[in-house]
Each structure stands twice: as C-alpha cells, then as structure tokens.
Amino acid sequence: MIFDIEYETMPREALESIQLRRLQTTLSRVYATVPFYRKKFDEAGVLPGDVKSLDDLRRLPFTMKQDLRDNYPFGMFAVPMENVVRIHASSGTTGKPTVVGYTARDINTWAELMARSLASGGASRGDIIHNAYGYGLFTGGLGAHYGAEKLGASVIPVSGGNTKRQVIIMRDFGPTILTCTPSYALHLAEAAEEEGVSFRDLKFKSGIFGAEPWTEDMRHEIENKLGLTAIDVYGLSEIIGPGVAIECHEAQNGLHIFEDHFIPEIIDPETGEVLPYGETGELVITSLTKEAFPVIRYRTRDVTSLNVEPCICGRTHYRMSKISGRTDDMLIIRGVNVFPSQIESVLMQIEGVEPHYQLIVDREENLDTLTVFVEVSKEAFSDEVKGLQQFAQTIEKEIREYLGISAKVKLAEPKSIERSQGKAARVIDNRSF
C-alpha cells in the first residue's frame, strides 16, 4: 500500500520543483537563524539567493558530525526552544552526544514518513505492530511508534529487552508486523524456540528492520526463520530518525528515499566531489522540511549508491542500495553507535592500561559481540589470577557504564597487540555486511 499516493508517486518534474522551492526556503531560514550556517555560507561565498537550481546545492559546504558536536547541545537549532517539543540524542558516549530537536510539525512529518515506511513494508490499518525498537533518547522506538499510530495500526510499545515476555506477547496478542533491529529479530526467533513457540506459527507477515547494517544473507535467514517478509528501513537521528528511506515489499530492491523531504547526493568521500547516479560513495543528505533541526549537505558516512530506474511499486522516489559500509571507523554494535576513540578514552582513564588495544567485533548467535584486548602493564600485573580477573572486570564495568555496551575484556601481553600506523588494525570486524 502507498500511504501518500500524491507525493510518493509524483512525476519527477513536479517533485524536483517542490524540492527546489523547499530547498530555497530551508537555506534562507538556516542562514537567518543558525550562526553556524551563516558563517559557513559566508566563508564559501554562497548566499541562499545564489541557489537557483538543484545543481547549485553542490556549491554549499558539507556539514559533519563534528560540527554538530561543536555546537552541543542546541547550537544548531533553527527555532527558539519554546517551539521545540521533543529532544533526542545519539547513544551514550564519553564525548558529547549529538542532540537533535523537533517542533510539533517535525514530529508530524516524522510520523508521516514512518507511516509511509510501514505501509511500504506491508502494514495497514488493522495490523498489530510489535515495536521492539528501544524507546528513549534513541529515535527507533518513538519513531516507529508515532508512525504506527499515524497509519492507524495498533501498536504494542514493547521496546527492547525482556525477551521472554516479548515471546508471550507475540504468542498471545497475535501481532502481524514486527519492528526492531535485524539482529534482535533473529534473537527473538531463538528465544521463541526455547520457549517452545515457533515463529512460523505466529501471525507475522512483515518485519521492518533497521538501525544497523545487514546483508542479503541475513535477510534470507530472517525470512526463513521468522516466516515473514523482511524490509530494510534507513534513517539516522541527525536527519530525522528512522523513515528517511524504505524498501517496498513489492521489489525489496533498494530503499526509496523520501525525496519530497530530503535531497540525497552521493559523493567521493576523499574529494567531496558529487558522483553520477549509480556510482558508489558516501551518502549526503539535505533536509527540506525540518524546522527545529535542518541539516544542509550532512555527511552520513554511510556508503551506498543511487538507482534512478523506475520501480515496479509505482513510487517515483529514487532508491539507495543497502548500506555496504562506513567511511569512518564508527561501529554499530547491537544498534549502539560506538567509535573506537570512545573506548580508547575509557581505557585511558583506568590505571595500568597501556595505550594499546584491539577491538574484535563478531556476531555470535545473531547478536553482536565486542571483545577488547588490553595490554597488561607492569603496574596492573598482579601475580594472582584473582587480581588480574578483577582488573579485567573493572574495565568491562567502565565500558558498560560509559558506553552502554557489554564488552568482554581479554588481557594481553605487552607489545603483543600489533602496532600500526593506521587506525585500521585497532578494529577487526568479523561481521559481514
């Protein structure tokens, strides 16, 4: 089903003329209200009035995640606080999180985009949606929740965790749509099996999965084990949250980007040059309708390509391919964004830890695992096993406290962790995306 026939199937010419008008409005607004953008535009020598076509967008400077951090917490907001009705933030960090705000109209826009996404994944009025995305500062839970209500479906706000209870609810309430991260979907399937509940006997027809990268292989596994159609949803809090792009269940081949609200570009991450359609590079997004937190040419660091071929579902919005990687070293572990530098700063605060470490990311029984190898210094070395184990547990506790993720700490001999010029060897990601 298409939730918004008019906008989602709009002929390209009309769509692009709406994009240009909305872009011009957004640029004028951010220039007038956000000192960061005024300064950047002035430095680049491009004023909002100079943007006369969509192609002119590329004359504007990029916005980086660091810019958002530099303007922590509310420096990038384009409306006064009395107009902000909601605040979300990126996952817990030792550094500054990325804080985003929404006006009442932004919340409504977001709900519409998620309603479109759920509909594109096969949901409609009358469906019961089991929403196992986490509720809180993370945008997943509330994003899917508001979209489900906007669609007119019945939403179960079960959030993440307490897997046993989730299985009981899935068995007794008969939900038809599942929303969560793809790894949690597989985890739920296993938990159900342990409780003697077969997912295939449940009433699910579709699952809308996102917040972490996943492969086609994983899609097949999920579809086989859970007996539903697995749909990929894309989004990030800096842009709006989930609902930036969605696969259609008709094609399951690329995610339609809601172009009446966002302009996507693909750039060469090294040179910043815009690449032609079809080429693979970094996804850059400009928001067209956001009020509280507009973003201009935001570098997502996600690697993908754009497909301009018409789609069998009837939507005219261009499709991006499944995310195939990152242009920075950010790791997504069980849906939580983690930079190796954050783990490093936790380690550096613990006495006796050498400044050499290695992170191994793996996927065991469908859940991401993080192992941190830490070199034991002379100061930390106790000749009692008990003392060393306590040392490792202290590090695990600190990582959990600061980053909100569980890591297994393994102690290594001094100089045993490879010294390299680059950052790459510090992280070994054995998951395949």
Binding site: V376, E384, L388, Q389, P414
Partner: protein, 143 residues
C-alpha cells in the same frame, strides 16, 4: 626469611612457556621450582630460580611483564599429615594462603613447599613459633 619469586604474565598461546624456558636457558638461569596458574585466556607463571636479577633482566629484555614477589619456603615433614600440620597452624592463626606449590629438591629428609600469604611477616612468626623451619632465600636458590 623471605624468598624471591619471579612471576610472568602469559597469554594462553601455544609455545609461550617454551619461549620463557628458552630465554632463561640462554641467560644461564637454572629453574628451581615453578607453578602455573591458568585461566581460559591467560596464565601466570611463577618461578624460583638461582639468579633472580639475571632472570628478571632477561625476561624484561624479551618484553614480558615480570614482577618479583616475596614468598616463603617451608620445610614439610615427609609423612602423612606433614602438610596438614602446617596449614592447620596457619588456619588457627587466621592466615590466608594465596597460593602454594612444591619445590623440586628435598631439604635432607624433608619436602619443601613454597607459600604466598596475604600477611607474610605474621606467617613467618607463627611458623617459627611452632618450630616449623622457614628456609632463607639465599639457601633456597643454591640448594
């Protein structure tokens, strides 16, 4: 009356202990006793050697994490109940044994055990009060 012991941190990797013994052999250090405490991930190798300074220097030069700890070498009657008598004495004095292992050589007709206590000084006085012989480090290294 304390003796010195060298402790070495080792990862659980094949061939790691033979590397240690190789380094010590090359440095001309004789191993008098050893024990290995291990977990699934790592181990701690504890050694009594004839020349601590030389051993420590060689191990450090090879990049190992090394620590010198103080232990006590105790003569144990080589008969049933010999070790029990010592442990019982310590228990009654409320002294906790962190770890212990056997020394290779005998002292006359007696066995030797190496002990590590949380309260080393107190342990020595309790043992001596009960006429249990504590062997000095210098004697131990050259036995």
């Amino acid at each position: 009356m304390k003796a010195e012991q060298i402790s070495i941190f080792l990862e659980n990797k094949a061939g790691r202990i033979s590397e240690v013994t190789g380094i010590l052999a090359e440095a001309g250090v004789n191993i008098r006793a050893l024990s290995l405490a291990d977990t699934t991930d790592f181990g701690v190798l504890r050694l009594i050697v004839d020349d601590n300074a030389k051993a420590e220097e060689a191990m450090k030069a090879a990049g190992f994490t090394v620590r010198i700890t103080h232990v006590i070498a105790v003569e144990v009657d080589d008969r049933p109940g010999g070790l029990h008598y010592i442990l019982d004495t310590l228990t009654q004095a409320n002294i906790n044994v962190e770890y212990m292992y056997a020394f290779v050589q005998q002292s006359g007709d007696k066995a030797i055990m190496i002990f590590r206590f949380d309260q080393l000084e107190q342990a020595i006085s309790v043992l001596e009060k009960h006429n249990i012989t504590v062997i000095s480090g210098s004697k131990l290294y050259t036995m």
